[in-house]
Subunit: 176 residues, 2 copies
DNA sequence: ACGAATTATTTGAAACCTAAAATATCTAGG
DNA sequence: CCTAGATATTTTAGGTTTCAAATAATTCGT
């Protein structure tokens, strides 16, 4: 019963970690000697967290925007007509109540519009404002630049392999 | 400037999503037509989130334990002598201040011990209590069962491929 | 139409997270 | 010794997250 650890970490500060080469010191180390699936899961998790941490940090430094806000705008960007909150929460894979505050903040900043649905008075439609659309373009450009940089060492072949294998894994995990 | 979205989602409620087959409705859909790296990143992210969401949910249902708490215990389990908070935060890849409350809760529950370091009065050493060690064994067993189930459809070959490709990606992303 | 389920969203409690500032302690240089 | 800087942790402020319960509006069976 060695080799465990599961989930939910996000890139930390790491600002003054001069001795990282000496001590790997990340979650993955916990999996030494474990079952292959466990080790793979830990590697998947730490890889994802390193990447999302870098993106989060740099988007914040450059634009002072949070990742959830960026994700929300990314969803709205491709739906000019707007989306209902429920649909948005499904797409973002977060719970419904979660969006209330996030949308509220973005409305305050003038980046998204929130209007009642004429057909269904329970529902709200949120969509990008003109300003939101303009800002998002800048965010997205930087995001793309970052992702390309982080993935730079991967050959097209490796990328394709990862796409395929992850599709399998995703299907496997979704089935249960 | 299509195809964007970046990061930080976690498996949502999804409890009453009967129509998921009809509408894929997840972040990945945003990437249609984008650069391969962007699409891969979204797939990586959604796959990780689906898996960690399932593990989180089931650990909570079965043991009422959170993922961060489980991770913390997993780190301590392999360090019988205990760890300093700073070392723990490095390994868990979370910021330092983050652990204060988490450790506090686990101490309250009697699962971990927190004692001052005799050599360095700034530091604290945390380690698993006897009860914590026992409980963690049960958590870990269930976690392993879950991961194996979620990864069930993956061939040993695919697992190895993923391990290798993710190692490359992790190295690439860590370098920047 | 009426009332019962259903659906859309909000609210509230508790936990988690970062980043930056504050506190306390240790270590070295002079 | 004593002060400057480094280190370990906590605190504070601002968000994010889940889950469960509450509110409000729609739909459907009868």
């Amino acid at each position: 019963m060695d080799c465990q650890a599961s989930g939910n970490m996000v890139q930390g500060d790491m600002s003054e970690a001069a001795d990282l080469a000496e001590a790997p010191a990340d979650l993955e180390a916990v999996a030494r000697g474990g079952k292959a699936e466990l080790r793979l899961w830990l590697r998947l998790l730490s890889t994802t967290n390193i990447i999302s941490g870098q993106i989060r940090r740099r988007l914040r430094e450059k634009f002072d925007i949070t990742l959830p806000a960026f994700d929300l705008m990314a969803q709205l960007e491709r739906e000019p007509e707007g989306l209902r909150l429920g649909e948005l929460s499904k797409r973002m894979m977060v719970t419904n109540g979660n969006l209330t505050g996030l949308v509220e903040r973005l409305v305050q900043e003038g980046l998204v519009l929130r209007e009642t649905d004429a057909q269904d008075r329970r529902a709200f439609i949120v969509r990008l404002s003109r300003a939101g659309r303009a800002k998002f373009a800048a965010y997205a450009k930087e995001n793309e630049r970052l992702v390309l940089a982080l993935f730079e060492d991967l050959s097209p072949d490796t990328i394709q392999t990862l796409m395929d294998s992850l599709a399998m894994l995703k299907a496997s995990a979704s089935r249960r």
